[in-house]
């Protein structure tokens, strides 16, 4: 199976824009909202959303990143050691409306552990989920996103690869066979 592009750079920018306006629809002035990127790969998207959003609304929005590593349920189950990343949430989440941001939603286990991690920073009024790619019919847990960049149907033998302009040169999303590193 050949790798194929499912979102090119032009559509990518449009999608980011649309997600920002959807957030504005629901959160208005973002007074009690907080955007939280999920480590490691969700932070590229969360930074981009945060940047674009502050450009549009013309004021800063609470922003943090969370690392769910210590809360995962596959520790000691997977071949590879899980190494932790930074968590930076310089404000209390008590009573906030949190938008969790990750790039690809697959089994839902990362989001489950990220939600567990979030609760250690206070009791949010609400947690929402924003993902760039929602892979349908692959969930292990009853977790659904509130904001979706693009919904796709894919095989479990495939994986979704998100490339970022500041890392890989271009914003685009691929579907590739799982065993390749491409």
């Amino acid at each position: 199976m050949q790798p194929r592009i499912i979102l090119d750079s032009k559509k990518f920018a449009l999608t980011i824009n649309r997600l920002c306006f959807q957030l504005i629809e629901n959160h208005k002035d973002f007074e009690r909202a907080a955007l939280i990127g999920v480590q490691p790969r969700g932070i590229h998207l969360s930074r981009r959303i945060h940047k674009r959003l502050t450009e549009i609304v013309q004021h800063d929005v609470h922003y943090g990143i969370i690392d769910p590593t210590f809360y995962r349920d596959d520790y000691r189950k997977s071949e590879k050691q899980l190494t932790p990343n930074a968590t930076e949430i310089p404000f209390s989440l008590e009573g906030k409306k949190v938008v969790l941001i990750d790039d690809v939603l697959f089994s839902g286990r990362t989001i489950r552990s990220a939600m567990d991690a979030l609760l250690d920073f206070g009791r949010p009024e609400k947690i929402e989920l924003l993902v760039l790619i929602d892979r349908r019919y692959t969930r292990d847990l009853p977790i659904q996103p509130d904001y979706v960049g693009k919904t796709i149907d894919s095989l479990t033998s495939e994986k979704v690869k998100v490339e970022w302009e500041h890392v890989d040169g271009t914003d685009q999303i691929w579907i590739v066979p799982k065993n390749t590193s491409a």
Partner: protein
Amino acid sequence: MKALSVKHLLGIRYLTEEDIELIFTTADEFKEVLSRPIKKVPSLRDTTVVNLFFESSTRTRISFELAEKRLSADIINFSASASSLKKGETLIDTVSNILAMKVDMVVMRHPSPGAPVFLSKYIDASIINAGDGTHEHPTQALLDAFSIREKLGSVQGKKIAIIGDIRHSRVALSNIFCLKKLGAEVMVCGPPTLIPNYIDSLGVKVEYDVKKALQWCDAANLLRIQLERQEIQYLPSLREYALYYGINKKMLDDLGKEILIMHPGPINRGVEVTSDAADSKHSIILDQVENGVAIRMAVLYLLSGRKESN
């Protein structure tokens, strides 16, 4: 993803530089966890750890116990004075019996050098050495180097003086291994009777004048005189030691530069260091204690992360 190259933490000598760096970067994240309102993560909720202390300890045992609790592990505490050892049971039997009750990791302090290495040949669980006689105390050396890295930016190229009872100190030996692996220059300083012969074969400088040692170093790690391990008299008196090797505030002020004062504890105030020096702005002694929990969490976390062999 990286993993430790070892199954047990028996001593710093068995670790690679990459292992130490991995422990430090993991400890950075645990330090952040410890600054949260809820200082606990569920990483080890399916793991049981036994703390086997065949020798008395306050700081290390509390630090390990706290690290285990912060990781949500189940804990069993054991101290030699109230055990079947008194009834003549061997070390292997004691530990095998505990492990038969499905314990996953062993944290052990023992008065005999090499006891954890010996035990590792007979049991399956991961062992963490919490001090074995005059041999090694790896988590102490890791937290010392971690504290230096935190305060001075890195350990590479820094000059560290270890001052005091080098002969009887496991902290000194582990520190030498750890600091050398991380690229620091190490000097040991103390009365000639308390400096082991041939210590320069480990690649360390030897100095008998404490003022010269302080002048040379970026950080001084002060050690306690271990009277309980001295089978013969190595010193005329503690008073004489305090006179010639005790660090006081004036000596630090006269240096004309800032150095870090470290101490693994317990401190004998007025002997190796006076109160005004131990409590001065130079001192990072309480930072070391704080970092100890994060370092031990990192070690427990990384060692427990090996895949189950089922």
